[in-house]
C-alpha cells in the first residue's frame, strides 16, 4: 500500500489527425479529492475515458498504475471491477425505473432461483440512500425526482459497486446552490470513508473550496498540479487559458437609449396542471443598449417567463401585455416573435437549440431560413447559405474545419456559438439569453460576454437569465429578481450585491390580507 492510489504517466492519446493528449501525467493521492480543470476540449474527458476503460488499453500510450499495479483496462467493466466508477455529466439513469432498480441496474440482487429479490434490493437501496442522504422511497421512479437527487442516485449506484475511486464529470453543472452544497458535503463524507474522488468542474470557486489538489490541463498537456493551499481562481484561469484574464467580464460602454420592450402583468399558468400559477403579474422593461439580468433560483419561473414571452412556447391561459417600442404586440407563435425581431436562446442547447443530426450551416440558417428563400420559386439559395454560415463561423469564432461539420461533434462552447449564430442571423432587436454560458469554459464564456456587449453597443436590448450571481452582476445594467413566479425586486447594477439579490430571490410570496 502506498500513499498514491493512481499514477497516470506519459499518457498520449491520438485520434486520426489530432493529438488529444500528449505526455499527460496525473498523480492522485489515496483518499483525496482531486480536481481537474481545463477548457472544454482540453482533454479532461479523454483522460477520464482512458482511466475508466472507455478508450481501452492499447489505444493510447503511457502507463497507468492503480493501487500499486499496472492497470490494463479493456472496458468499463474492467475498471469497475477495480472499484473505479465514472459518473458522466449527462446522467445515465432510466427515468421509468425506480431508484432501487436504477441503483442495481446491471448488478441485480437475485435470490436462489435466479429471480430478482425485491426485498433485498429495496433494503440495500434504502441503506445506500441513507448513506448519500437521499430521503425518498426506494420504489419512486427516478424520473419524478429532481436532478440533484438523481445525482445522489448515481452516487449510491457507484457505492453499490464498492467504489474506491469515484470520477465525477461536472457533477454540479445542473444543480442549484443548495443541491451543490449537499453534493459537496457528501463528497467530503465519502472522503472520510476512504473513497478517492476525481472531479471535473468548471466552477472554480467550488473546486478551490472542496479539492485537496487541482490539476490544470490545457490543449492536451498537464500544466500544473496545485495543492489546495496555493490555488486561487486567477492562477487556475491563467493555467487554463494560457493568459491572464484580468477581467472575467469584458468592459462595456453604457449607452442606454429609449425603451424597446415592455411586459405588463404577464400571468402564466402551468400547461397541464390547471390553476397552478407559474408567473404572477410579471412586469418588466428593457431599453435599447441595455442588458437586463433576471436572477432567480431554480423553479422561480425564469425559463417559463422567457419561453412564454417567446411565442407562447410555454404555459397556458397566458394573459398580460407586451409592447415593442410602445406598440402593443401579440407574440402568439414563435413566427410572430421572430417577425417582431425577438430571439430566444434556450438554456438547454441540445434539447431546444440544435438539430444534432445536421451540420453547422443548417443549424445557423434554421430560424432565418426565409431570408434565403427565393421569393419566386421558394427555393433555398444554398450558396448564399454557405456564405452566411461562413460569416458566423468566423465572426463568432466557431472552432470547426468547415460549416459542413455536424454540430454533434462540436464542444459545448462552440455549440452554444452555433445557437447564437442562428439567432443573430434573424437580426433580433430583443435577445433573450437563457443561461447563455452553462457548461462552457472560461474562454468561451468571455467570448460570449463580448458578443453580448457588441449586441447592446448596436442598440439592441438583451435579457440575460442566469443562476450564477457573479455572472448576472458582471454583465447586466439592471437586475430583476424572480421568486416563486413574481418579480420581487429591481436593482440597478450600482446597488447590487450578492447578498441583496439572494435575499430578493428567496423572498416568499407576501401574505395577502
Amino acid at each position: 500500500m502506498t500513499d498514491t492510489i493512481l499514477e497516470m504517466s506519459s499518457i498520449t492519446k491520438k485520434f486520426p489527425g489530432v493529438v488529444a493528449l500528449e505526455d499527460v501525467n496525473l498523480t492522485v493521492k489515496r483518499g483525496e479529492i482531486h480536481a481537474i480543470c481545463g477548457e472544454n476540449g482540453a482533454g479532461k474527458s479523454t483522460l477520464m475515458k482512458i482511466l475508466s476503460g472507455v478508450h481501452p488499453h492499447g489505444t493510447y500510450s503511457g502507463q497507468i498504475v492503480y493501487d500499486g499495479e499496472e492497470a490494463v483496462f479493456r472496458s468499463i467493466g474492467d475498471s469497475e471491477r477495480h472499484g473505479i466508477v465514472i459518473i458522466h455529466q449527462e446522467l445515465a439513469l432510466s427515468p421509468y425505473l425506480s431508484i432501487a432498480e436504477n441503483i442495481f441496474l446491471g448488478n441485480e440482487r437475485y435470490d436462489k432461483l435466479g429471480l430478482i429479490n425485491w426485498n433485498r434490493t429495496n433494503a440495500e437501496a434504502a441503506e445506500l440512500m441513507r448513506r448519500v442522504g437521499l430521503d425518498e422511497n426506494p420504489m419512486t421512479p427516478v424520473g419524478v425526482i429532481g436532478v440533484g437527487k438523481q445525482q445522489l442516485v448515481e452516487i449510491a449506484k457507484a457505492l453499490s459497486k464498492s467504489v474506491r475511486l469515484l470520477i465525477l464529470d461536472e457533477p454540479t453543472a445542473a444543480l442549484n446552490d443548495t443541491d451543490s452544497e449537499h453534493l459537496l458535503g457528501l463528497l467530503r463524507m465519502l472522503k472520510a470513508d476512504g473513497v478517492t474522488c476525481i472531479m471535473i468542474s468548471h466552477k472554480l470557486g467550488e473546486l478551490i473550496e472542496i479539492a485537496d489538489s487541482i490539476t490544470v490541463i490545457r490543449d492536451g498537456h498537464t500544466i500544473e498540479t496545485i495543492p489546495d493551499s496555493q490555488a486561487t481562481q486567477e492562477r487556475l484561469i491563467r493555467g487554463m487559458v494560457g493568459r491572464d484574464l484580468s477581467q472575467r467580464y469584458p468592459p462595456r460602454e453604457h449607452d442606454i437609449g429609449p425603451e424597446v420592450f415592455r411586459v405588463e402583468d404577464w400571468t402564466v399558468y402551468h400547461p397541464t396542471q390547471p390553476g397552478r400559477v407559474m408567473l404572477d403579474h410579471v412586469s418588466l422593461t428593457v431599453r435599447a443598449g441595455e442588458v437586463v439580468g433576471i436572477a432567480g433560483l431554480m423553479g422561480a419561473g425564469r425559463t417559463e417567463l422567457a419561453m412564454s414571452l417567446f411565442g407562447h412556447s410555454y404555459g397556458s391561459h397566458i394573459s398580460g401585455h407586451t409592447y415593442i417600442r410602445g406598440q402593443e404586440v401579440h407574440l402568439r407563435t414563435v413566427s410572430d416573435a421572430i417577425y417582431q425581431k425577438v430571439a430566444y436562446v434556450s438554456e438547454d442547447r441540445k434539447r431546444y437549440g440544435l438539430n444534432l443530426l445536421a451540420d453547422i450551416k443548417t443549424n445557423i440558417s434554421a430560424a432565418g431560413l426565409r431570408q434565403l428563400e427565393s421569393p419566386v420559386t421558394g427555393w433555398v439559395n444554398q450558396n448564399e447559405e454557405m456564405k452566411v454560415a461562413e460569416k458566423y463561423r468566423s465572426t463568432l469564432n466557431i472552432k470547426a474545419p468547415s460549416v459542413l461539420m455536424g454540430v454533434s461533434k462540436l464542444s459545448g462552447g462552440n455549440q452554444q456559438k452555433v445557437v447564437l449564430g442562428k439567432w443573430l442571423y434573424t437580426e433580433p432587436e430583443i435577445l433573450i439569453l437563457d443561461e447563455p454560458t452553462r457548461g462552457i469554459d472560461v474562454g468561451a464564456k468571455y467570448e460570449i460576454y463580448t458578443l453580448i456587449n457588441e449586441m447592446v453597443s448596436r442598440g439592441r436590448a438583451v435579457i440575460v437569465i442566469s443562476s450564477e450571481l457573479p455572472e448576472v452582476m458582471g454583465i447586466s445594467d439592471r437586475i430583476y429578481t424572480l421568486s416563486f413566479g413574481r418579480i420581487t425586486g429591481e436593482v440597478p447594477i450600482a446597488q447590487a450585491t450578492q447578498e441583496k439579490l439572494m435575499e430578493l430571490m428567496t423572498k416568499e410570496e407576501e401574505v395577502v390580507s
Binding site: F15, P16, G17, V18, V19, A20, E39, N40, G41, A42, G43, S45, T46, D219, G220, F310, G311, S313, T333, V334, S335, A337, I338, Y344, S346, R351, Y352, G353, L354, N355, L356, L357, A358, T362, S365, A366, A367, L369, R370, E373, G378, W379, V380, Q382, N383, E384, M386, K387, K399, A400, P401, S402, M405, G406, K409, L410, S411, N414, K422, G443
Partner: protein, 404 residues
C-alpha cells in the same frame, strides 16, 4: 483548443490528394448506390435476360408504384412518423377509379380526379389526427389501414372490377414511340433521354459555377466530368435498351417528373428543410419558428395524394381494381426508405436514397422472378437484403465517425 471535439473525417483526409479524397468520400456517401450497382451486376450475371430490352421495360412498368410511394413515405419517415395505410389507400383509390370509370362509364380523367380526391381526403383525415390531435402516425395509419381496406372491399363488393382499357390503361402500359421513326428502335426515346442527360449536365455545371462563385470547395474537375460521363453512359445505355423494345413508357415520364419535383421539395425548399428540422429535433424546430403542426399535416396530406397516384398507377397496370390490391405495399415503400439510408428515428434520409432503395427492391423482386425462384424464397431474400442493407449503412456510418 478543441482537440478532442474537432476530430473528424475532414481533418484526417486533409493530407490526401484531392481525387483520392473525392473517391473515398463518394464511396462513403454513395454506399447505397454501390450496393445497387452490385445487385444489378449480380442479377445480370445470374440471369443474362435481366438486362434485356423487354425486361428493363417491364421493370419500369411493374415497380413504378413502389417509387411513387417511397417519395411520400420518405418525407413521413424523415418527420419521424410512419404511414402504414398506403397499401389500403392504393386499394381504395383504385376501387374509386374503377367504380367511376368501369361501373359508371365515365371518362378516364374523371376516374383519375376521383381517385386523387379520395387520396387527398385520406391525407386530410390522417393529417388531422396526427398533426392536430397529436396521435402518433403509427396508430392513426394502423387504423387507416383497416378503415380504407374495408372501404375498398365494400365499394367493390368483395369482387374485382375491370377492365379500364383506353387512356387509363395506358397510364401504366402505354408508350410514346414511333414519333420520329427509327430502324428497329425508337428514336424518340433516345432524343428524350439525350435532352434529359444534357439538362442534367447543364444543371450540375450551373450549380458548380455557383459554388465556385461563392468560393466553396468543389469536386475536382476530372471527377466531376467522370461523374457526368458515367451518368450519361448509364442513362443512354438504358435508353438504348428500352428503345429496342416498345419505346418510352409513359409511366417513366410521370415517374421522372415526380422524382424531380420531390427531390427539389426535400432538398431545396423551406418546407423540406422544416421536415428535416422537425425530425432532427422537434423542440428546437418549434423554437426556431417552424410550424410543426402545419408541416406535419401537409406531409400526411401529401402522402395520401401520392398513395392515390400509386393507386391509379397500380390499378392501370392491373387494368382493374381488386379488393386485395396493394396488400403489403406499405412495407415495400418503408423498406425502400430504410435501404436508402433513412433513419428510423427521423431527421435523416434523402429522396435519391429512397429512389435507389426502391430500385434495389424492384431489381431484387424482378431478378428473382426471372430466375424462377419459388414464392417462399423471394420474401426471405428481400427480408435478408433489408436487414443487411441497413446493417451495412450503420457500419459505414460508424466507420466514418469512429473518432472521438
Amino acid at each position: 483548443m478543441n482537440l478532442t471535439d474537432d476530430v473528424d473525417v475532414d481533418g484526417r483526409r486533409a493530407q490526401s490528394p484531392a481525387l483520392g479524397r473525392f473517391l473515398a468520400d463518394s464511396a462513403q456517401k454513395n454506399g447505397i448506390l454501390l450496393a445497387f450497382v452490385v445487385v444489378v451486376i449480380v442479377f445480370s450475371i445470374l440471369q443474362p435476360a435481366f438486362l434485356s430490352p423487354s425486361n428493363l421495360t417491364n421493370l419500369v412498368l411493374q415497380y413504378a408504384y413502389v417509387l411513387i410511394l417511397a417519395l411520400g413515405m420518405l418525407m413521413v419517415i424523415v418527420l419521424a412518423q410512419i404511414d402504414l395505410s398506403v397499401g389500403s389507400v392504393i386499394a381504395l383509390t383504385g376501387a374509386v377509379a374503377a367504380v367511376v370509370c368501369v361501373r359508371g362509364g365515365a371518362p378516364w380523367w374523371a376516374g383519375v380526379l376521383a381517385a386523387l380526391g379520395v387520396g387527398l381526403l385520406v391525407g386530410l383525415w390522417q393529417g388531422f389526427w396526427v398533426a392536430v390531435v397529436g396521435i402518433p402516425g403509427f396508430i392513426v395509419s394502423l387504423g387507416g389501414m383497416l378503415i380504407f381496406r374495408g372501404l375498398a372491399q365494400l365499394l367493390l363488393d368483395y369482387k374485382s372490377l375491370s377492365p379500364f382499357g383506353g387512356v387509363y390503361y395506358d397510364i401504366s402500359n402505354g408508350f410514346l414511340n414511333g414519333l420520329f421513326g427509327g430502324a428497329g428502335f425508337d428514336v424518340f426515346t433516345l432524343v428524350i433521354f439525350t435532352i434529359a442527360v444534357v439538362g442534367f449536365a447543364l444543371a450540375q455545371w450551373r450549380s458548380r459555377l455557383g459554388q465556385i462563385r461563392y468560393q466553396q470547395k468543389v469536386t475536382p474537375l476530372p471527377a466531376f466530368v467522370a461523374k457526368l460521363v458515367i451518368v450519361a453512359v448509364v442513362a443512354l445505355a438504358f435508353a438504348w435498351q428500352i428503345s429496342h423494345n416498345r419505346g418510352l413508357p409513359i409511366i417513366l415520364i410521370i415517374l421522372a417528373i415526380f422524382v424531380l419535383v420531390y427531390g427539389l421539395v426535400m432538398g431545396r425548399t423551406g418546407f423540406g428543410r422544416h421536415i428535416y428540422a422537425i425530425g432532427g429535433n422537434l423542440s428546437a424546430a418549434r423554437l426556431s419558428g417552424v410550424k410543426v403542426q402545419w408541416v406535419t399535416f401537409w406531409t400526411f396530406v401529401n402522402m395520401g395524394f401520392l398513395a392515390a397516384v400509386a393507386g391509379i398507377v397500380y390499378s392501370a397496370r392491373m387494368n382493374g381494381a381488386q379488393p386485395a390490391a396493394g396488400n403489403g405495399f406499405e412495407l415495400d415503400a418503408i423498406a425502400a426508405c430504410f435501404i436508402g439510408g433513412a433513419s428510423t428515428t427521423g431527421g435523416i434520409g434523402r429522396i435519391g436514397g429512397a429512389v435507389i432503395g426502391g430500385l434495389i427492391m424492384a431489381v431484387i423482386s424482378n431478378g428473382m422472378q426471372l430466375m424462377g425462384l419459388s414464392q417462399g424464397v423471394q420474401p426471405v431474400v428481400k427480408g435478408l437484403i433489408l436487414t443487411l442493407a441497413v446493417a451495412f449503412d450503420l457500419w459505414n456510418r460508424r466507420r466514418s465517425t469512429a473518432t472521438a
